[in-house]
């Protein structure tokens, strides 16, 4: 078997609990984004365009949807004879029977998988970031610097720096210090959670770390500091461009809005870097005589009879006559009935909004659906539920199931 230069491992295991009801039924990487994509499309597309055709997707929560979504990898051009894309859940080994403990532990448990391809480099990625990046350039940088590990970094506002892993590097990019979520950040160069390792060295460190009982088995918290203290040459690769962690309801909503800004803050319409996805088999969308549609994006299988402004509308959505939808993100196959009014709402897949329902009303004090997961006036509606005709839902709510009498606090 020909040797594979670089294997990518996508960490898609997180439960994504900060996304609330959106990750009840699907793993975070399978959450819809941008009208016709899923979050996992972005790292998979980046791999495909970067010529990395061997990809492991490490998952444990709700792997079924992710498994059937990824399928044979064909949509991302990853249905290769040697390599291709594999979904890797935990398995029963002869000696133990456990779930992945941390990000590094997930890779540790798949050493055998990586060894099969005998790669020189391993690229570790996160399954919940939205960005376009040519990993080839980063690999070239890694080779040029003869690094053991290379970490992609970007400038973040100083006030946010303490939420990230922060790097201090010399002029050449060599990392001198690294601090995971420091209280007093020494730089504003934040790790993007994208690592390239020499496989040979990484394997040794993973095996050591596995034996360390005090380790939380995490790349940021354990592996990187260990490599640094072992004096392995590590470099920071500066990335310039759009990058967003969509781990919260607000950041997910915001990232969607970024693609419909004028001009877009994140441009998906790039013929040299098409975002691949498993396309739904649906006809072009229909805009009726009565519809008004502005500042929005709409995709296949939609039927728009209402009034839509500044929205991201996913495939198969119907918006009936008289409905008004603004600043919202509508997931696939949602049905919004006539005269409903939605403002700043994220509606989960397949939900039906009843006639004349009003969602996103000015807050009132005793909002039964208030949720700390929904901030910045956003309302999040669960998938596959029915919001009754005339229902009223206030800002900053999360609706798991609608109950005329009240709601569920989270």
């Amino acid at each position: 078997m020909a040797r594979i230069e670089c294997v990518a491992m996508i960490l898609a295991g997180g439960q994504g609990s900060r996304l609330g009801v959106l990750t009840n039924e699907v793993a975070k990487p399978a959450v819809p984004f941008g009208g016709k994509y899923r979050i996992i499309d972005f790292p998979l597309t980046n791999c495909s365009h970067s010529g990395i055709s061997t990809v492991g997707v490490l998952t444990q929560y709700q792997p079924l949807d992710l498994n059937t979504y990824i399928g044979n990898g064909g949509p991302w051009d990853l249905d290769r004879n040697n390599g291709g894309v594999y979904v890797l859940p935990p398995y029963v080994s002869m000696s133990e029977n456990k779930w992945y403990k941390g990000t590094a532990n997930a890779i540790y448990h798949n050493i055998q998988f990586i060894e099969k391809f005998n790669p020189k480099y391993v690229l570790v990625l996160s399954g919940d970031h939205i960005y376009k990046m040519d990993y080839r350039k980063m690999i070239d940088f890694h080779k040029e610097k003869e690094a053991t590990a290379t970490i992609a970094v970007m400038s973040v506002p100083w006030e946010e720096a303490s939420r990230f892993g922060i790097m201090d590097a010399d002029e050449d990019g060599k990392i001198i210090e690294f601090h995971e979520k420091p209280e007093n950040p020494i730089s504003n160069q934040a790790s993007m959670g994208i690592y390239i390792f020499d496989w040979e060295n990484l394997k040794i460190v993973l095996e050591e770390d596995e034996k360390d009982e005090n380790s939380s088995k995490d790349f940021g918290k354990d592996i990187i500091p260990k490599m640094l203290s072992n004096k392995m040459p590590m470099y920071a690769y500066r990335f310039q461009g759009y990058w967003k962690d969509v781990g919260t309801v607000h950041s997910l909503w915001e990232a969607n809005m970024d693609i419909i800004a004028d001009p877009p803050l994140f441009n998906l319409n790039d013929s040299n870097w098409r975002i691949y996805s498993r396309n739904p088999i649906k006809p072009p969308h229909y805009i009726s005589n009565d519809a008004v549609i502005t500042n929005s994006c709409v995709t296949e299988g939609c039927n728009i009879f209402g009034d839509v402004d500044h929205c991201v509308i996913s495939d198969g959505v119907t918006i009936e006559k008289g409905a008004k939808v603004r600043d919202s993100v509508i997931f696939p196959n949602v049905h919004i009935s006539s005269d409903a009014v939605l403002e700043k709402v994220v509606v989960g897949e397949g939900t039906v909004i009843g006639k004349g329902a009003e969602i996103g009303l000015e807050s009132k004090d005793d909002n039964p659906y208030a949720s700390h997961l929904c901030t910045n006036d956003i309302v999040l509606i669960n998938g596959n539920i029915k919001i009754p005709d005339g229902a009223k839902i206030y800002k900053n709510s999360m609706v798991r199931t609608f109950d005329i009498g009240g709601g569920d606090r989270t």
Partner: protein, 372 residues
């Protein structure tokens, strides 16, 4: 599971002005993101047919590009799958073969290799969503030798019917007469150019016809055998769009603006497959105004668009008015233009302030890649 194979016979005589200069009619872009052949091919696939032959004649490179390995139709298979059959693969015929029988004869080895009992013969220039398993069931229940598929065209004038083959069908669904492009048609039953029959019977009939020098499937194989064979007719009740002229091409497109037609044709349990292009969702600008349109992915709409079919990747600028148009893939209409009753082929550019006005009966056609 089914017991049929499919064979699509390319139409080569049809000319739709510039639209078919470099492509066969089956490769015509239609309904915003499809090629005409997608409908018949999807019908076959949705009826669990896993082995489909397409007999091509000329100008087939556009069709081959579109179909590729058949992946999008799930026809990239080890057994069966999609076979594009060039006309010269027949029994040593030199040059291009002529007549339907010759076309079918080109597919002899494809037919002979199949293990299925039935074959569906069809043309590729029809827009319809038909369950061929129902046709097979009808064929078996009636113990027919050959089953022809037709629809009743209630509004058609005699003149319209003169473009078609018309069937006389008795109360037992048996075909009693076949008229080719009749001047005074005896019925309104329009043959949909779909035939179901035994693969063995077809093979035998073609061998015989070939030996006799017969060339015409309808005249020599069907009409001559009306009394010898049990030829039945299956009535299809759904929408049918024939594409055999610029006018029928235009109307088959705008028919998709009707909700009932759209719902039937794009029936989600029998979807229409086509080549995937990984386009982004369409974007509407702040001044967009769109009414009664079918709009595909990858478009950027900033102007006023009405009663039109807009294909993938089209760009319509500000202050531009487009109405009753068919705008094919990757065409660009810049700012301040006016277009009415126009068909823009692929990759056409209409520069700032351009004005093109055709007529419903004679839509203006701009050829692929032109700059206006």
């Amino acid at each position: 599971m089914t017991n049929m194979i499919g064979l699509i016979l390319s139409e080569s005589y049809l000319q739709l002005n510039g639209l078919t200069d470099k492509r066969s009619v089956e490769a015509l872009p239609i309904a915003g993101r499809y090629r005409l052949v997608d409908f018949m091919l999807s019908n076959m696939v949705n009826s669990d047919i896993t082995s489909v032959g397409i007999v091509t004649k000329t100008k087939y490179s556009s069709l081959m590009d579109h179909l590729g390995s058949g992946k999008e139709w799930d026809l990239n298979r080890k057994n069966g799958g999609l076979h594009i059959i060039p006309p010269y693969s027949g029994r040593g015929i030199q040059g291009l073969s002529e007549g339907t029988i010759d076309l079918i004869a080109s597919a002899s080895s494809f037919i002979r290799r199949s293990k299925e009992d039935h074959i569906i013969l069809s043309k590729g220039n029809i827009v319809a969503n038909i369950d061929l398993k129902e046709v097979e069931k009808f064929h078996e229940e009636n113990s027919a030798d050959i089953t022809l598929v037709y629809y009743e065209s209630k509004e058609a004038t005699n003149r319209d019917l003169g473009d078609h083959i018309v069937l006389e069908v008795d109360d037992n669904c048996r075909v009693r007469g076949i008229e080719i492009r009749p001047i005074r048609p005896k019925s309104r039953n329009v043959f949909m150019n779909m035939v179901l029959m035994g693969t063995g019977l077809l093979q035998y009939s073609i061998d015989e016809a070939y030996a006799r020098g017969d060339r015409d499937f309808i005249r020599d194989l069907l009409i001559k055998n009306l009394s010898n064979l049990k030829i039945c007719a299956y009535k299809f009740e759904g929408y049918v769009g024939f594409v055999h002229s610029v006018c029928t091409y235009y109307s088959a497109n705008v028919d998709m603006l009707k909700e009932d037609v759209r719902r039937e044709i794009f029936n989600s349990s029998r979807p229409i497959y086509t080549k995937i292009k990984d386009q982004v969702p369409a974007r509407y600008g702040s001044e967009a105004s769109v009414h009664n349109c079918l709009i595909a992915d990858g478009c950027i709409i900033q102007g006023d668009v009405r009663d039109s079919i807009i294909f993938r990747g089209v760009n319509i600028g500000k202050n531009t008015k487009v109405s009753n148009c068919i705008i094919m893939q990757d065409s660009v209409i810049e700012a301040g233009c006016e277009l009415k009753h126009v068909i823009l082929d692929k990759e056409v550019t209409v520069r700032d302030g351009g004005r093109l006005i055709g007529d419903l009966t004679h839509p203006m056609i701009i050829d692929k890649g032109e700059v206006v």
